[in-house]
Each structure stands twice: as C-alpha cells, then as structure tokens.
C-alpha cells in the first residue's frame, strides 16, 4: 500500500504510466547551429520538471518549442496524447511565464490577467470571478488598477504568474521565473511556486541556469549541454550520483581525482592515482575493465578533516590549508595536496570557535578522509 502511494509521487518509475508530455527525436537547427540535438524526454502529469544548463545549452529553445514559438526541425512533441506539430501557440493547452514577464504595458493588472480569458469567449462575470480569485491567491488584490510600470519586480512576477495560471493550462512553462528577483524574494517565491503547483496540479516545466533553484523546485531535473541531455533524475539522484564530470561540476561542486582502475570487484573499484601515488577505494557496482581512465568525484561536504592521520583508511590525503572561507553555517577550506591540486572541503559550523583561535588554521598540515561510499566513479 505504502509502495503504491510512493509510486504515485514518482510516476517515472512506473512502467505503465503514460507521460503527459512526450518529446520524441526532437532536433532544432538554426542554420548550421544545432540548438537541440535529437532528444527524447517524458514528463508526467503534476511534475515540476526543471531544464538546467548553461547559456546556449538549448534549454530555452526546447521550452519555446513546447510553447509553439519555434517549430522543431524534426521530431514530434505530444502533449496529453496530441501531436503538437501543427498546433499554433494560441491553440495549445499551455501557458508560459516569460523571463521578462512580457506584461502588456498599456493594460492594468486586471486587464493583463483577464487577457487570456477574454480570448476564450468566457462570460464577463466568470472572467471577473476568476481574475479576482487568482489575484487574491498571488496577493495582488489591492493592485488591480495599477499598470505594470507602477509595480515592483516581485509584484510584476506575480502578475505574470497569475496571467499564465488563470487559464488553467495543462502545462505551465516558466522561463527563468525567479531570475529577476533578489535572493530573499527568490527563496520565498520558490516555495510559493511549489505550493501553487501542489494546489492546482498543473504540470510545470521550468527553465533555469540556477542549480540551487532547480534542486529546490523540481521533482526531476534534466541537465542539458550542447543540445543534449547529460543526465535526467531527481535532484538527489543527480547530486549524489552524477554520471559525468560535467554534471558533477555544474550541480554543486566536486573535487576530482584522475586515475586508472587497478582492481574492479563486485561492489567496489580501486583506482590508482599516479600523480598522488595513492589508491582510492570506491563503492561501485558495475565492473570496469582494469586500466580504464576514470575520475573519482568527492563533494566538498563529504570530506572530513583531521589533524592526525586516521588508521586503516584508504581514502586519505595529506595537505596544507591555503584558504579558509567562513560562510556562517559552513566554513570552506581550500587545501593544497601533494600534486598542487586544490581541494575544497566544506565543514559545518557545529562548534563555535573559542576566542580568536580557529579550529583549523592557515598553513596547517591536515589530513583529508572520506568514506568509500561517498565518492563517485566517473567514466567521462
């Protein structure tokens, strides 16, 4: 029983579930440039799916193809089982929140929000009712007669959201929804978005370059690069089990050690690093041919520091503290190891330092350790 409820929250694990958005072999070329390169993607009903990547990775082009602003060069997009190829943007069951918000400057907040409803030949009373309802949800009821230029950035963002949601679309596309907001407002709005999405059950597709935003918001996320997906998964999957150095570096930060596989067991891999003259023992279930060049990735917060070497631990390195960054809830140590590589270690500030004496000081010799379950073997 509990297994079933679990699965309803993770439709992508259920082989029988029909995806709400199906993207099949979609390619988009602008002249010689391939923005989106033959991709497949399934997004399920009620998901909050993030497309993540650097600028020019193709995430915005993919979003614009979903909205219907750009036709795919080849391939098909299905939404709710319907082939969208010949459906113009105005006839799609999709609404979009634009990065620039694209509010109509000559219309009041009320008129902006009512614009989409008026196109649907809905009765005046119904329009008024729905506009009032959505504006009170985004807490803008006092601003209905204002024009966009009389609103703050956060208010404009909420008008844009209300305008996109008031038509009750099957899918809501959000292009960098929080990009223009300051940090406090961004964090607050992130949770508002999640609540709204929960309440309305609309499928959200969010484009963002901000990995923190994507991790906070998403049920699943797809990391894009050069028009292709690098990895698709839940935020925890992508963060804890990155499949490539690119993903490991883009989502959070990671320390990388290059080496060659010296032994591959059923549940672990031993990687020898020539430059450091040590061997790393890492949990890994798939066997890798000996001699293969791989990278060991360790997240900064997964490394512990000690002033004395620990016994019987394989994953141990010695280094010198070159920099300490105090961030409040954590401290970031930058440590130089024998091959001059700088290793980043993040330590939670659980104890308060006594007096002006740091627990670990500059230029101090220090030992880095991590458990073999906390590192990842990357093949590319």
């Amino acid at each position: 029983m509990s297994q079933q409820t679990n699965d309803s929250h993770r439709p992508w694990l259920d082989g029988d579930a029909e995806p709400f958005i199906k993207i099949r072999n979609v390619t988009k070329k602008f002249g010689e440039f391939t923005a989106v390169d033959n991709i497949d993607l399934d997004i399920y009903k009620g998901e909050l799916f993030s497309l993540l990547g650097g600028s020019g990775c193709g995430k915005t082009t993919l979003l614009r193809m979903l909205a219907g602003f750009e036709p795919p060069s080849s391939g098909t997009i299905y939404i709710d089982g319907v082939d969208m190829t010949d459906v113009p943007p105005y006839a799609r069951p999709i609404n979009m929140m634009f990065q620039s918000y694209a509010l109509f400057p000559h219309m009041t907040v009320e008129q902006n929000v009512a614009y989409g409803l008026k196109r649907d030949k809905i009765s005046k009373d119904e329009i008024t009712r729905r506009v009032d309802e959505i504006l009170s949800m985004v807490e803008l009821s006092d601003f209905i007669k204002r024009k966009p230029h009389q609103l703050s950035g956060g208010q404009r963002q909420r008008v844009a959201l209300a305008r996109a949601l008031v038509k009750r679309p099957k899918v809501l596309l959000l292009d960098e929804p929080l990009g223009a907001l300051d940090k406090r407002l961004r964090e607050q709005t992130q949770f508002e978005l999640i609540n709204i999405q929960d309440d309305l059950g609309v499928t959200f597709v969010v484009v963002t370059h901000d990995q923190e935003e994507a991790m906070t918001l998403s049920t699943r996320m797809a990391m894009m690069d050069a028009g292709k997906f690098q990895q698709i998964g839940t935020p925890a999957e992508v963060y804890e089990y990155p499949e490539s150095r690119l993903v490991a570096n883009f989502i959070g930060s990671a320390n990388m050690f290059e080496g060659r596989v010296s032994q591959s067991g059923p549940d672990h891999v031993i990687v020898a690093s020539k430059a450091l003259g040590v061997e790393f023992n890492t949990e890994h279930t798939n066997s890798i041919i000996e001699g293969t060049k791989v990278w060991i990735a360790v997240r900064p917060e997964k490394i512990t520091l000690s002033k004395m070497p620990l016994d019987a631990i394989t994953n141990q390195l010695k280094g010198v503290v070159v920099d300490i960054g105090y961030n409040g809830k954590t401290s970031t140590y930058r440590i130089r190891i024998s091959n001059d590589q700088i290793i980043e270690v993040s330590v939670p500030s659980q104890k308060r330092p006594k007096g002006d004496r740091q627990l670990i000081d500059w230029d101090e010799e220090i030992y880095l350790n991590w458990d073999q379950s906390n590192a990842v073997v990357l093949m590319k």
């Binding site: 219907g68 609404n95 979009m96 694209a102 000559h106 614009y115 196109r119 649907d120 305008r163 038509k167």
Partner: protein, 319 residues
Amino acid sequence: MNPVNHANHSAGPLVNRLLLRLVELLQSRWKVIVVGIPFFWLLLFFLAPFIIVIKVSLAESIIASPPFSPLYERAEDGALSIRVIFENYSYLWEDDLYINSYINSVKIASVSTVCCLLIGYPMAYCIARSNPTTKNILLMLVILPFWTSFLLRVYAWMGLLADQGTINSLLIWLGVIDEPIRMLYSELAVYIGIVYSYLPFMILPLYANMEKLDVTLDEAAADLGAKPTIAFLTVTLPLTLPGIIAGSLLVFIPATGEFVIPDLLGGGNVLMIGRILSDEFNANSDWPLASAVAIVLLIVLVLPMVLYQRIQARERGNL
C-alpha cells in the same frame, strides 16, 4: 599636491578670478543657457515674423512699397491714429474660393496621411523586425531620397506622369492602352506626389516607436490564446499609437500647406491653400489678404495639435 591647485596659485589673480567666475556661472546657469539659446532663436525668427504677419493681415492693400497700409500714422496735428481692419478675414468667409481651398487642402492632406499610414505602417514594422544588417540597409533606403533635392524629385514625377511621359509611353508600348491616360495636372498626381514625398516622415517615427516594442509581447498574446489579428489589434496597435500620431502629424501638417506639389503636379486643376496664398502674395501683390490666409491656415493646423496634446495629457492623467 594637486597640480590643478598649483596652477591656480601661479596664474594671474585677475584672470584666475574671471575664469573661476565664468565656470561658476556655467555650472549654476547651464540649464538656463541650454534652454535659452533655442528659445531666443525661436523668439527672433519665429515669433517676431509671426507678429509682423499678423500686423500685415490687419492692414489694407495699397499700391505702394510695401504694398500695405501702415498700422499707425501721425496726423498733421501730431495725434497718433491706429488703423486696424478685419476686412481681409471677412473676405475669406465671403469668397467660396478660400473656404473651398481650405477644405480641399485638409481633404487632400487627410487622404494622403491615411495612404502614407497604410503604406508606411507595414514597411516600418518589417524594418523594425528585420535583422540588424538588413535593418540598417532598409533605413538607409528610406532616407536615401533626401539626398536629392525635393524639387528635382517632384519634377521627375512630372516626367513620369505626363501624357507623353514614361508611364504612358510604357503602357502604350505594351499595348495595354491606346491613348495616354491623363494623370499629370489632376488630383491623383497630387496624391501620388504628396504620398511619395512624405512617406519617410511617416515611416521614421513609426519605426522609432516599433523598434522599442518587445517582441515577446506578441508571443505572450499568442500564448494566451490570441490569434495574430486579435494580437495585432489588442497589443501591437495600441502600443504603436504614439508613433501613428507622431507620423500622421508630420505628414498632415506640411501636406496641408503644401505649395510645390499641387503647383507642379496639379496645375490649375487642384485647389490648395498653399497655391492660393502664393498667388495672392506674388501675382496679386495683396500682402494683407495673403497674411490673413496664412494666419487662418495656422489656426487650422494648430487646432489638431492642441487636441492631440489634450488627449495625451488626459491619458497621462489616467496612468
């Protein structure tokens, strides 16, 4: 030690103080100076002649040099007598010629403005939405005719539209017509001339307005369910209204008083107030009547401007 301070100390104290005073003056009064120079220019070369024209319009036509009666005279006993007559203005009302000319001028200018708008709006839209390289070339092409004299271009149209002109010769050669169509010296020729000459004045303000328009607004309208025509009527058109009004005024105002085009392309067949004014002034040497014609023309033209500003002020009040 600051080198500027040092130089100040070594320079002559009087020159120094004068320079300092000048800089102070420029710093404190620069706004007055910047606004003052064009203001003075307008005062000298617009307002003063305008007052002179008003004065002449209130005089009587006489055969003399200058050909109008003086505003005031000193009688033999030294008393000052001022003579103001309104006959010139009342004459304009009495003779149909003038009223018809005004009406015809406004009609021709209005129709031309609408034609310019219908042709210029899509052109400006295409220019504003084309890629930057094409955009510059297209804008250049719009401005290119200004490199040739306006008069020459109107003469060129005479050559094109004449009975034995290029267009008729071509049509006869192609066998489309047997006899030349009469185009020159007609209202049609005047319309062609005005629309051709004033089209850039419509396109440029429209372009400036459309260039600032965010393309994503069209996409937002489409996204919210508006078909292209509805999106145009509800979003693009209202947002380009300032450009439409600016362009229309820039075409309508000079077109109403246009003299060269009706004179050269319309011949004697097209009544426009610019030609009447010129005839009164040159051929009839009736300076007072010509002045009255000019003043009434100015009122006809200022009226729509004042209305426009009223509307704008009201809209701003609504914001």
